[in-house]
């Protein structure tokens, strides 16, 4: 899709928030894992490091997928679209937006279904007893917002 060259300074507030949340998640995951390696070789244990890594990864990945969606940077095979006329390209891009809206909508819907099923079980991690529901919520919110973003883009495309 488009290939703009944003730097952190030129991005909107929403993008900056997503970068901040995603970066924090990524750095926490990295630091926990690196500390666990150090601990194993030096002689102390970081209990539940994998669990911390997993929940930090949810934050990082939810943010990054939403950010990429808002920047319209999902990967495509460009063989035909790259050589098509402006009109055909606009039409195919419109189908692409619809496809992404449906995909993220389906993922969000499926995730909500699973979260509702698991709600009474108070699902949590084994060692640190971290409740997973808030992280499921973060994931569902990211997918829903991505679906909404592509639906709005699709609707705007129809009006043009």
């Amino acid at each position: 899709m488009d290939s703009s060259t944003e730097t952190p300074e030129t991005l909107s507030r929403t993008h900056r928030f997503l970068i901040f949340a995603g970066s924090a998640g990524l750095l926490v995951a990295m630091a926990t894992d690196a500390l666990a390696v150090l601990g194993r070789h030096v002689g102390f244990a970081v209990i539940g490091s994998i669990e911390i890594f997993q929940v930090a990864a949810v934050v990082a990945l939810s943010s990054s997928i939403l950010m990429v969606s808002m920047m319209n940077r999902h990967a495509t095979v460009d063989l035909i679209i790259g050589r098509a006329s402006g009109r055909t390209r606009a039409f195919l891009a419109q189908i692409g937006r619809a496809a992404l809206a449906i995909t993220f909508g389906l993922i969000a819907f499926g995730s909500i279904w699973v979260a509702v099923d698991l709600w009474p079980t108070t699902e949590m991690t084994e060692l640190l007893s971290i409740r997973l529901a808030p992280f499921r919520l973060i994931w569902i919110t990211a997918c829903t917002l991505a679906a909404v973003h592509f639906s709005v883009s699709f609707a705007k495309g129809l009006r043009k």
């Binding site: 997993q54 940077r73 496809a99 499921r136 997918c143």
Partner: protein, 435 residues
């Protein structure tokens, strides 16, 4: 009329090819076809729940964390200014020989590929660094561009490689073993390219004239510039192969090492760090969407029974493993003319891997074979992404000239691929040592 699962699978496969070619985002294409297929074969409710489970499992799977962390390590190394250093050293060592800068560009691609893990990133960066230098020394533009386009593919194979990580995830294979398996094929691939350059300049000396000789002081200074990053890559990949840490831990340690290098080189600024994180998140979001789609699609393929059907066909034909692999290579190369490498891998792995396993071949070997075939698609027409990347940076070199420049390297690629098929031990020796 009720369609057989295999027929639904076949229709889905063709539909997927069509919508991918139409430019529908890869992740959405895989996820949609997979979900619709699951809904038809199971029930819509079961399909939706499956999609929900797969998506959250993918983002929480610890083993998958290796992907963003290796990307972050690469971005930190770029921020430390590693882009041209490998080429700089190789150019100072052999640039004074005929074809020396060509050889240096292959060395630079191998070194940079070990950091970036991506063919396109390698070719984009190395062509910006090496192509102007080669042209200044009156290298034939098509030959120089061809060497870089081919050399760039090393980024997909030399560990830590993004393509191998994705294969490991989709095929549920050990990423450590895949990295170990890629070491010798990566080195031999680079040697094949160097051999091609030496043969070409012997045949046509005007293609690549010799340059000025660098002093030993200059060579020493260039060597010093790559020592920290080389040690980091060796430590990370070596530690992973030796079993000191898991792939995800290796990537985390690599990131910490990258931060230290950034600080030692006095480039640890908030701008450098935030750019590295932004680039990592951007690529991660894109690839994870594709991975989620690929896992949904792969689940659907396993429900269709197509892999069992393929196994039955191969058994019925009585094809030997070598013949079956040659047929697969031809099919992959043909499909690679229309699909980019990642799409090709995600589309074909769930279908071909069971066949390969049934033939008694190693999935690790298949991973290297698949990435190697995928790499060839990066340089052969009509797609040849690497060629277009170079052309975008050097518009005055006609596309035809670059594709002609690639042909000798493609010949080297086919020979190398044949070698990997004929002698699987080249791939499997190191992973066997791992136990």
């Amino acid at each position: 009329m009720t369609l057989l699962p295999e027929a639904i699978g076949l229709i889905a496969f063709v539909s997927l090819l069509v919508i991918l070619m139409a430019g529908i985002p890869i992740g959405a294409s895989l996820a949609l076809v997979g979900t619709v297929g699951l809904a038809l074969l199971l029930t819509p409710e079961a399909a939706l729940i499956k999609v929900g489970v797969i998506a959250f499992d993918t983002v929480t799977r610890y083993e998958l964390g290796v992907l963003p962390l290796f990307m972050l390590m690469a971005q930190l190394c770029f921020a430390a200014g590693a882009s041209g250093d490998f080429f700089g050293l190789a150019a100072k060592l052999v640039g004074h020989k005929r074809g020396g800068l060509g050889v240096a560009s292959i060395g630079g691609c191998a070194g940079f590929g070990a950091i970036s893990g991506s063919s396109l990133a390698t070719v984009a960066t190395m062509s910006a660094v090496a192509l102007p230098e080669m042209r200044r020394q009156n290298y034939h533009p098509g030959f120089a561009a061809g060497a870089l386009a081919a050399g760039g593919t090393l980024g997909s194979l030399i560990p830590p490689s993004g393509a191998l990580i994705v294969f490991g995830i989709i095929a549920e294979q050990s990423i450590g073993k895949l990295f170990a398996a890629a070491v010798i094929p990566g080195i031999t691939q680079a040697l094949f390219y160097i051999a091609v350059i030496l043969i070409m300049v012997r045949w046509k000396p005007d293609l690549a004239p010799p340059g000025p000789r660098a002093s030993w002081r200059e060579r020493g200074a260039a060597a010093l510039r790559i020592i920290d990053i080389s040690l980091l890559v060796l430590f990370v990949v070596g530690g992973l192969i030796l079993g000191w840490f898991t792939p995800t831990e290796a990537a985390s340690v690599g990131c910490v090492g990258g931060l230290v290098i950034l600080a030692v080189r006095r480039k640890f600024t908030s701008a450098a760090l935030s750019n590295a994180l932004l680039e990592t998140l951007r690529t991660t979001g894109m690839i994870y969407t594709i991975v989620i789609g690929a896992i949904i699609f792969s689940t659907f393929v396993s429900v269709t029974g197509i892999p069992d059907h393929m196994i039955g066909v191969v058994d019925a034909v009585g094809a030997s493993p070598t013949m079956a692999i040659i047929m697969m290579a031809i099919m992959l190369l043909l499909l690679g003319s229309f699909l980019d490498g990642l799409a090709l891998m995600l589309l074909m792995t769930p279908i071909l891997l069971p066949v390969v396993e049934n033939l008694g071949l190693s999935p690790i070997w298949f991973g290297i074979f698949l990435v190697r075939t995928m790499e060839i698609g990066f340089v052969h027409p009509p797609l040849g992404f690497n060629v277009y990347v170079i052309h975008a940076g050097a518009r005055d070199i006609p596309l035809g000239s670059i594709f002609r420049g690639v042909i000798p390297f493609l010949a080297g690629d086919f020979l190398h691929l044949a070698m990997l098929i004929a002698f699987p031990a080249i791939v499997l020796w190191l992973p066997t040592l791992q136990g």
